[in-house]
Symmetry: C2
Subunit: 477 residues, 2 copies
């Protein structure tokens, strides 16, 4: 119990006896990293509970519900919407998944693994390396599994492998009721339609309906060959043409079709000097596409190498009368992906970032970007659009960068107004989503409230009441 | 109003005024096909309502809920678990989707279609033929979309394309409340995590939570090349070895890995004389695997033909020291699939069928089948096991055939005892599912009641109350 805590000492003592010394943090220095989000946000935790088992999680949750103590579940804490950090009241406890790292049971024939929700994505794929299988969600960040489930992460290979929802077979969940009820939804079956598929409720709902402690994941054969190219469309309108042409020619070979604005690419090249500038004369185009094809077999004799496949397809597109391609070059995957994965950090370092995780029908991405490029200066001066994202699945990381010393940062209305305008155009004008793959946290609670029909909000509130009536999660449904 | 109806005339009149002449059937001859299931079951309908729009569906449902009239939604009526037909009371109305065939709006760039839930699978793919895209669920039957959603159908290409859940982006649903509330969940976005994903509730739940009137579906590039082979494993234990070897070698090329018992193959060959017997000397092996590889691009110069790819992979497996393969031959896809698709009818015609739609961890399928083969004669004499199914996704159509003139058919306990024993072994001993891809109807209500934990049943009942409190569907949650 420290001088800063605003939770009664008896509760800290009780939680300590449930969790042991390693399981409960109350000293500010120990709690600091759990209170600080990946981007700007900083709250204050009453305590950090770190259960190591489902049973401990259940005991903590039950205790907190019975005593009206709010919990914010935290996984890898890599999210960008303030969904995993406590608010500033100091009255919320953090429930961290970071010690829930067991079990890890690979079923090679079933192509599944049962894993603790506290393992990091990189740990999971590291442990799987010898098996020839992998968990096929590709991200710049390195979250823990529970948070990936709570946000239904998609990432850069969605086009081939889908999102976390598609790759989740089973879950073990602790509900926020007075018993800390454990729901065993840990099926390892691929076809299983025997009633309501309750696990769906805990995927993409930011931990508000229960805490995931274990999961059963689908694994895929790891790719053993890949080829990548950078494509420069001859105009923004031709991006959709290129996507359709590539899908028609390559089908399920195509594993990524990512969009990168020139601004984002320049920011990455500036921030990471070791990156090679791959463009002719170093001149970064206004918009670039990263296309990847891959396959999971070892190269076989007689098989056309993937580089040649990609070059042939691009040559055919190059010959088209509508000339969708202004330039294209096939290059080494590690180099091209290094550029793609540097975008996020590059953009973040180019100024103060106001980030959006939007999605659209695939054909609406470029019209939306064109609209924003044209309208931004009229609505907000000196805001640079550094978007990148996933053309293949409609996701757009719509990043707005404002100089760090811009005086408008002192005005709390500036960011709020900017956000409202962007959401209005994205959702109301273009039929897009205000949260593609980051789910909901305090940062987009206002959008949830605004854009969720009353009927759906009523149903969600009812569902919350019958499953997890206790105060759980950073947002409210 | 006919002499057989047990619903008050005023209700028939009211429904008639909501639906018009084409929209309401009350004459027994007109209703007969709606009262009869695809396999054995036969009920009696108070009326058949055939709304043509979501608004009409809402009006009918609202009227029925307000007046306590139970409705059984019926789509293509091709299901096998008595989920789409009325019971024998004559007091349930059928709500047929067969006139809900509009809209049909293809978005070529987004690779999606918005469709009325009453279209048949074959109609959908027929309309899409020119686009180069298809809805990638492959079935022997030809259901309508609403029923495919209500059962979360998987089929034979699950391994590549997944189930209906994976390929559903949005739904329009009418709830069974007094207002006939229409939930617009018709998103056409691929990444969209903005709260509870309500559409999941209506997928695989047999229409009990609401009636799907429209859907937005993911489409995939249609395959343009395929190659198939029949594989004879050297022992049942080697089936899993073959599956892993094929996946390792072929990755996402592999689009089907189906198992067929010798009994099922013989039944198909007997029933459909035009089928070619592909086996040496006409001797059908005890178990055969159908493997398919496919890709969606037009053949390219320099590209190895798929037949050669498949032959090469099989040759490498043939050389293995553990010799998993006893025999294998690559043959024309239309011929090999004709045999596969004839299994269901063949088995049905070989006697009285008692069918199960089970699923297992992939490695448990062959042990389960071996166990049943050994134990069946001790428990039930003269019952032939004619299984086939989907090794790649764990699904097993576990068909038991009893001679049509067997006197035990007169004993109502015979089938009940047989079913109970099979479910006990499959679910309790092997950890399998009692319903892989047919969801729940009257036929497996008892299994739902037995195998669903109390906590889940309580939650499901609560969810039913807050969404669709009215009497809807053939089963109860």
């Amino acid at each position: 119990m420290t001088e800063f805590s605003v939770i009664e000492a008896c509760h800290i003592e009780a939680l300590g006896s449930l969790l042991g010394q390693k399981g409960l943090l109350t000293v500010p220095a120990d709690m600091a990293s759990y209170e600080t989000g990946a981007r700007y946000d900083k709250g204050r935790a009453a305590f950090v509970a770190r259960p190591a088992t489902t049973a401990e999680t259940s005991a903590v949750v039950a205790y907190c519900v019975r005593n009206g103590i709010a919990l914010v579940p935290q996984s890898g804490n890599t999210g960008l919407v303030s969904g995993s950090t406590p608010d500033e009241s100091g009255r919320q406890g953090v429930l961290s998944l970071d010690r829930l790292t067991a079990p890890f049971e690979l079923d090679r024939i079933n192509r599944t693994v049962k894993s603790g929700a506290g393992l990091r994505l990189s740990d999971v794929n590291g442990k799987l390396e010898q098996s020839g299988l992998f968990f096929p969600i590709d991200l710049g960040a390195d979250p823990r599994l529970g948070g990936m489930i709570a946000t239904n992460t998609g990432g850069s290979r969605f086009l081939r492998y889908g999102d976390v929802r598609r790759n989740t077979l089973g879950l073990t969940v602790v509900l926020a009721d007075e018993a800390g009820t454990v729901l065993d939804l840990s099926s390892d079956l691929r076809k299983n339609n025997t009633g309501v598929d309750w696990k769906q409720l805990f995927i993409g709902t930011s931990g508000a309906f229960g805490i995931v402690t274990e999961c059963v994941l689908n694994l895929e054969p790891a790719p053993k060959q890949s080829a990548t190219a950078l494509l420069v469309p001859s105009s923004p309108e031709q991006v959709a043409t290129l996507l359709v042409a590539m899908e028609d020619a390559l089908g399920s070979y195509l594993s990524a079709f990512e969009g990168m604005s020139g601004n984002a690419v320049r920011a990455a090249l500036d921030h990471v000097p070791s990156l090679r500038n791959p463009f002719q004369g170093g001149v970064v185009p206004g918009f670039v596409i990263l296309a990847e094809i891959s396959r999971s077999n070892q190269p076989r004799e007689g098989e056309q190498p993937l580089d040649a496949v990609l070059e042939e397809v691009l040559a055919a597109i190059w010959e088209r009368e509508d000339a969708p391609l202004a330039d294209a070059f096939v290059g080494p995957p590690h180099e091209i992906w290094a550029l793609r994965h540097a975008l996020s950090e590059g953009v973040k370092h180019s100024g103060r970032l106001i980030a959006f995780d939007l999605s659209f029908r695939r054909g609406d991405i470029m019209p939306f970007l064109a609209h924003m490029k044209a309208e931004m200066p009229e609505h907000f001066e000196d805001v640079t659009i550094c978007d990148f994202g996933h053309i293949g699945d409609g996701g757009v990381h719509f990043n707005l960068v404002v100089a760090k010393d811009d005086p408008r940062h002192a005005d709390p209305d500036f960011e709020a107004n900017l956000r409202e305008w962007v959401f209005t155009v994205a959702v109301e004008q273009f039929g897009g989503s205000f949260s593609a793959e980051h789910a909901i946290g305090r940062k987009n609670q206002a959008s949830y409230n605004k854009y969720t029909p009353d009927e759906i909000r009523r149903l969600a509130a009812g569902l919350k009441t019958i499953t997890s009536p206790g105060p759980l999660g950073a947002m409210t449904f």
